[in-house]
Assembly symmetry: C2
Homo-oligomer: 354 residues x 2
């Protein structure tokens, strides 16, 4: 890293994705199979790695915790720190996770823009917007922030509560009849009372033969709503765009992400290990966010969901509590470096150690 | 309009969609059925409407031309002007159309961001991005501008040339094998040599029974590529977002759109009628764009497509000519008014005349 150009490193603040790369690898329980851990130790020893920072969400904190405990047991001195980062916002023990606020801002802005587009014709339309979040509805709930632009969606469905197709169709029909338009935000993870994902369930109307279906949840719900209401229906999947839309990042988020990394480094240098940086926030008098350290063991393997009290009794909207929680997080517009009207992303040399 | 707050009207520059509303109505040939025209004339007379500005793309210019000719024939003095606006960029006689550049900027930026996201893992991925444009490939071609950010897609398919599924699959497989990744931009309007849209054609592999398929072109191509290559494949549809993403508008586009409207008003006041505002551009020494007036009859009912010389011989990319054409158009970032981190759109009273 020290061989990289400082200006290029600074551009990382506005470069989407992880420039250093990433992995999806489920590491074994070290008590059952320590092959991977012995290999990690070998590499750490070879390069004299004494600090290990691991960036990610729930699974990553689990990995980080396991590596931390293995290092401690092995007697090799290496300080291991978890640095939170997940748009899913489902890490336990922290007010929120870096990444979430920027995705939330992207989602809310896109919902507001689509709202405007969907109402341009006198002939009405039902619009169904599919948002990421398999088990926790933080991202889908963020659609409510479009209210700030006067463009609140009509219905919001989260995976925290069971989905009822009949009630959903009744609600959409009623709103469509009353207003001529209906905008629905749905989490990809919504499921029926029996636990089946709506995105996976076979709907006999569209797939009597049990074929693999193309298209996601939004397309499927659009089909069902069209059949029921006869309305023009659009299914929109925010897809990867909500995860990498750095041009709509929240400056608050960028600053807090940086603070999380900085805190981890400073704490490790000061002797800490086996901890994750968490955020402690105060919203009583403006908004204040401070880092704190939590033991990795206390964080790993818990999933933080949207509190049920923040979901309306009908299960189809979120309360003002959610807005109060999320709105301070999406504040501030980053200054992006552009070249020729296009984003100038960091260009790293990525020199690999011999 | 004069009863609206001037500050709110100014916000229209950064408000997506058309705040005054829009319609999709195919007006009859006045020589065959003049019912609509007589009604329009009645309304115009009732409110003493002497100026009529009609904003849109190909069909709108046809409507505008018909109304203009009817008014001239009827002897009622009303000056009729066409003001171009279409992200499809397919209006004849003008260098480009207001709206196109902002959509192009949204598309190019999104492709660049997705490119970053798609390469984060060591395990490769094929990403297929579906872009609007049923008959003309201007929008899909704009994906090439991601090159400016160092994130050029690998393949670009436009409706201007016939699509060959076997050649496509071979190309994707080869690129995926060589680079471990492949990013494809496709226009929704790509079609086989016999004219069938790829989005509509039944592919036996996925739909042997001829059922209505959910999901669009991207999902369908993703399925076929997955089967052929075994790669992880993502289909992304930019959907309505590319049409209403005002937060990523091009300032050049906004200024030119304003200029088009202003030119139309000034020309009409000066006595012109039956004309459309067009852009004449010079790219030899920097970029210069000037408005000119064209007779509506010369514009209506022609469709401007991407020149075949701008498409590579293999039909799977665009040449530097396209970049030289489009890059000046996406320059400049608008200053957007925000409230609480969210866009502050225009709020009009829309007082309806009695």
């Amino acid at each position: 890293m020290s061989k990289e150009d400082a200006n290029e490193l600074a551009l990382l603040l506005n470069t989407p994705s992880s420039e250093l790369g990433s992995c999806r690898y489920k590491i074994a329980d070290p008590d059952k199979d320590d092959t991977d851990y012995r290999r990690i130790l070998e590499i750490f020893k070879k390069y004299d790695v004494r600090y290990f920072f691991y960036n990610g969400g729930n699974d990553s904190m689990d990995t980080c915790d396991k590596v931390s405990r293995f290092m401690a047991k092995s007697g090799y001195e290496c300080r291991v720190m978890g640095v939170p980062k997940t748009i899913d916002n489902d890490l336990y023990g922290t007010d929120h996770c870096p990444g979430f606020a920027s995705a939330a801002k992207y989602i809310a802005t896109s919902v507001a823009e689509v709202y405007k587009d969907a109402r341009v014709y006198d002939t009405g339309m039902v619009t169904i917007i599919e948002i990421m979040g398999r088990h926790a509805g933080w991202l889908a709930a963020s659609a409510v922030l479009a209210e700030v632009s006067g463009c609140a969606p009509d219905l919001i469905y989260l995976p925290e509560v069971d989905f009822d197709m009949d009630k959903f169709l009744d609600k959409v029909s009623r709103i469509y009849k009353e207003k001529g338009n209906c905008i629905v935000a749905v989490s990809e993870g919504i499921h029926y009372a029996d636990g089946t994902f709506v995105s996976e369930a076979k709907t006999s109307a569209t797939d009597g033969f049990g074929h693999a279906q193309l298209g996601g949840l939004a397309a499927r719900l659009a089909e069902v709503v069209k059949e029921k209401t006869g309305a023009k229906v659009r299914g929109i999947e925010l897809s990867l765009l909500q995860r990498c839309g750095a041009h709509l990042a929240s400056q608050t988020d960028i600053e807090e992400a940086f603070m999380a990394g900085k805190t981890a480094v400073e704490a490790a240098v000061a002797g800490e290990t086996g901890k994750m940086v968490a955020f402690k926030c105060d919203r009583t008098n403006g908004y204040k966010c401070e880092p704190e350290l939590l033991p990795l063991t206390a964080v790993a393997n818990y999933e933080k969901k949207v509190p049920l009290e923040w979901i309306t009794p009908d299960g189809d909207y979120v309360t003002k509590d959610f807005i109060d929680y999320a709105l301070p997080l999406i504040q501030g517009e980053p200054e992006r470096k552009l070249e020729n009207g296009m984003p100038r992303f960091a260009r790293l040399k990525k020199i690999v150690a011999e």
